[in-house]
Amino acid sequence: MSPARLRFPRHVYGEGHEPDPRFSLANERTFLAWVRTGLALLAAGVALEALEPPVQPGFRLAASMLFLVLGTVTPLQAWRGWAQDERAMRQQRPLPSPLLAAPMAAACAVAGLLLLVGLLLA
């Protein structure tokens, strides 16, 4: 049997044992789901500014920037979360909690509120 080569990234695959492949594949799909979420946030941020819906400009810009910042940070967290979870599975530790999920949901709610207020003020 040929020896396994060390896969990228080393800080994930360099230690531990192979987890159940189904968990690794599920981890990969979770990463992709986060990436899609980030893309949707970016599209929302661009659309708000480019389409200029009838929302008070200050509030609209604030909501747009919030979506854009979230959308830019999301792929970073997607990768980080994937790496942390894969490492934890390889080392048979409990999965770290997804620290970014709750603040992201809160930030989306804030953006929605900004739009609502801005809509009423327009």
């Binding site: 049997m1 040929s2 396994a4 080569r5 896969r7 990228f8 990234p9 994930v12 695959y13 192979e18 492949p21 189904r22 690794s24 594949l25 599920a26 990969e28 799909r29 990463f31 992709l32 789901a33 990436v35 899609r36 980030g38 893309l39 949707a40 970016l42 599209a43 941020g45 661009v46 659309a47 500014e49 480019a50 389409l51 810009l61 747009s64 920037m65 854009l68 910042v69 959308g71 830019t72 940070v73 999301t74 792929p75 970073l76 997607a78 990768w79 994937w82 790496a83 894969e86």
Partner: protein, 116 residues
């Protein structure tokens, strides 16, 4: 008579993972085309073509990469029973980096419009 090749996982996870990559490629196409269309008045037709073209090209790369990835994953599962010989996570890292760069570009665009 050799037994027929068995599916490692009755849940068909490798197939579901390829579909997830394809959904991501589709999101990429939609986001880049929409952004290009929306930025058209500000940036002009060439920028629109470039952004949509880049998004579409990248999406195609993802679809092809996902197919290759799946073959590597299934080969590793068939021959070793685990993912030890499957592809590494370079495709994931490149995808995340590209989306991050797109986010930065979108921020620059919106800030540029606001500040000028």
């Amino acid at each position: 008579m050799t037994p027929p090749p068995t599916v490692f996982d009755p849940g068909l996870q490798p197939e579901r993972t390829v579909l997830a990559w394809r959904r991501t490629a589709l999101s990429l196409v939609v986001a880049s085309t929409l952004s290009a269309r929306l930025m058209a008045p500000a940036l002009g037709a060439e920028a629109v073509a470039m952004v949509s073209g880049a998004g579409l090209g990248l999406a195609l790369v993802l679809v092809v990469a996902a197919a290759r990835r799946r073959r590597g994953i299934e080969a590793s599962l068939r021959e070793h029973g685990d993912l030890s010989h499957a592809p590494g996570a370079a495709t994931l890292a490149v995808t995340a980096a590209t989306c991050f760069a797109s986010g930065m570009a979108a921020l620059v665009f919106v800030l540029g419009r606001t500040l000028t």
